[in-house]
């Protein structure tokens, strides 16, 4: 029985998939704190879809996928801010128009020009078949993200909470905005291989949303989000071995379970706590004449 549980660790490809998933899960979880609090959830979704044409073009040109994906993601972000600045169209509509345009263009490219990559692996990811070069890239991206956040999380916090105060103190607000956007794009690219374009957004939102229910302190929220991301990504990849199911699906289902648990049982913001609080205040109400 115990042997059976250790079975995944006997295969090199599984070992790689496990630790790479955990790493990317941690980085996405860390960023998810900023994404959820900055209200960038839709933007994260948009970026993850907007990288697809970049991947296709990179495959055609024989360039590394991540270069194409990163460029394409940034182009989409630039296109969004341009349209937003120049038209009175609402931001969510702008994001919707731009990212679906990019995604559609990517699908069209892939269907028109047969290439080695298949659409399925971009959209759903394939961490089990990750190449050593991709592992190196992924580790590099993760290291940079972790370093930047470790050094500048307080500035990014102020920027997220009160950009006007940041500006008043003479902090480089545009640079902070760009930094957060770059981190988000880079992480999206890195996580693409683990869970695919469709589910990246879950990795970038769910851990942060779960942590938000569990704490009222931003620093703790980042740590909880990151830990949740790592544990669920590791657990999901591990479970996918036995279930023989898609890794991305397993990871995100696990993250959703954690969110549901927090939603019900969270000590202060959970449904049960809210019910308890209502009942106590209700009681107090009846006692007061």
């Amino acid at each position: 029985m115990f042997d059976h549980l250790l079975e995944p660790f006997r295969y090199d490809y599984m070992l790689t998939a496990l630790w790479v998933s955990a790493l990317i899960g941690a980085v996405c979880g860390l960023l998810s704190g900023f994404v959820t609090l900055k209200g960038w959830s839709l933007l994260g979704d948009a970026l993850s879809h907007a990288v697809v044409p970049g991947v296709a073009l990179a495959a055609l040109a024989g360039l590394p996928f991540s270069v194409g994906a990163f460029t394409s993601g940034l182009l989409a972000a630039a296109a969004m801010s341009f349209v937003k600045l120049k038209t009175p169209v609402r931001e969510d509509a702008v994001i919707g128009v731009v990212f679906t345009a990019f995604f559609a263009f990517g699908i069209l490219l892939i269907s028109l020009y047969p290439m080695q990559i298949d659409l399925k692996s971009i959209i759903f990811g394939n961490i089990l078949a990750i190449s050593p070069e991709d592992v190196v890239q992924l580790v590099a991206i993760s290291a940079v993200c972790l370093l930047v956040i470790a050094l500048k999380w307080r500035d990014l916090l102020l920027f997220s909470f009160d950009p006007n105060q940041a500006r008043t103190l003479g902090l480089p607000v545009r640079l902070l905005h760009l930094t957060l956007l770059l981190l988000l794009s880079a992480t999206t690219v890195a996580a693409l291989q683990a869970v695919g374009a469709v589910l990246v957004v879950a990795m970038l939102i769910t851990p942060g949303a779960t942590a938000y229910l569990l704490t009222d302190r931003f620093g703790k929220l980042l740590l909880i989000g990151s830990a949740l991301g790592a544990v669920t990504a590791f657990g999901g990849a591990y479970a996918s071995y036995f279930l023989d199911g898609a890794t991305g699906g397993c990871i995100v289902v696990l993250q959703t379970l954690c969110f549901l648990l927090a939603l019900v049982f969270a000590p202060r913001h959970g449904l049960l706590a809210a019910r308890h609080a209502r009942r106590t205040t209700g009681l107090a109400g009846t006692l007061t004449p």
């Binding site: 609090l37 600045l85 050094l151 102020l158 105060q165 500006r167 008043t168 003479g170 938000y212 009222d216």
Partner: protein, 309 residues
């Protein structure tokens, strides 16, 4: 306690022919000129859409004037910002009260300009934060998440942040909206103390009635600066009707029972909340004459000390 600011020269804030045209072609403000010097509480008064918030943003360096310039101590706003001189108390509607930060966290954000690259709080930062929180009377609530505070407490958190920052110019955006009378009085008392320390307080407000009670100067806005100077000189029926047009309710009581009863002629101007009362010939009436006299005396005393220093 926060170190006294009064031993430094009071700062001068100047707008010189400031015009702001937004990228969509709308000119919100043109040719706005005024000068203020520290040791004052000045109200920035105008209706919505008068360019009041644009001017406010230009003073804080959030928008760059398309013409003219804003200077603080004869230097660009950016330099004053880098020195932490400009502190800002936002409108309650602008703040995300669900954000997972405590009272202490928010007040600490006033100290960022003094901290190192990593923004690690030093003992001096913690002391400044503790002192600021104490001064606004929130010591018991310092660990609370900001959304769990009452309207008045919320406002005081951001005033404490401005204190911790040791801002020498403090800008408050509609500080009395959604605040009970008791908190309003507490904030006004605090602002008077800050004025006595030589700071320049600029309050953006549409609440006319409270202006004469605590502001010694007024800048009246309607697409440009209509008038600026001591409250009693600026707050005339003529100026106010130029600034507010038809936006004010105008109760002329000269034919009312007021005159019949005691021979006094009163005019009440109000947009909401507290009314502004003008006496015969258009001079300002104060709700509490004794308190007003005390204010005038304080102001004179402050001027004398400033001259002596």
């Amino acid at each position: 306690m926060s170190p006294p600011v009064s031993n430094e020269l009071p700062l001068t804030l100047a707008a010189q022919q400031v015009s702001v045209t937004y990228p969509n072609g709308h000119t919100a403000l043109s040719d706005a000129t005024f000068t203020l010097t520290g040791g004052t509480i000045c109200a920035l008064v105008g209706v919505n859409g008068s360019g009041k918030s644009t001017l406010f943003k230009a003073l804080m360096g959030f928008v760059t004037p398309t013409a003219g310039r804003v200077t603080i101590a004869d230097a660009p706003v950016r330099e004053a910002q880098r020195k932490g001189w400009v502190a800002y108390v936002p409108q309650s509607e602008e703040v995300d009260w669900t954000f997972p930060v405590s009272v202490e966290d928010v007040v600490m954000m006033g100290r960022y300009g003094y901290m190192n690259f990593l923004r690690t709080p030093r003992p001096v930062d913690r002391e400044a934060v503790t002192a600021a929180i104490q001064r606004v009377g929130l010591s018991d609530l310092r660990k609370r998440q900001i959304g769990e505070l009452s309207g008045g407490q919320k406002k005081r958190v951001f005033v404490a942040r401005a204190l911790a920052q040791q801002g020498r110019i403090i800008l408050l955006d509609e500080p009395f909206t959604g605040v009970d009378v008791k908190t309003e009085e507490a904030i006004v008392t605090l602002l008077r103390e800050l004025r006595a320390e030589g700071r320049l307080i600029l309050v953006s407000t549409h609440n006319l009635g409270s202006v004469p009670e605590f502001c010694d100067q007024v800048v009246l806005i309607n697409r440009t600066v209509l008038a600026c100077g001591p409250t009693a000189e600026v707050f005339t029926a003529e100026n106010l009707s130029r600034a507010f047009g038809g936006a004010l309710r105008h109760f002329d009581l000269s034919h009312s029972t007021v005159e019949a009863h005691d021979g006094r002629q009163v005019t009440v101007l109000t947009d909401d909340e507290r009314p502004l009362v003008l006496g015969q010939g258009g001079h300002l009436e104060y709700r509490d004459r004794a308190a007003h006299q005390k204010l005038v005396d304080e102001r004179e005393a402050a001027k004398t000390t400033a001259r002596d220093v």
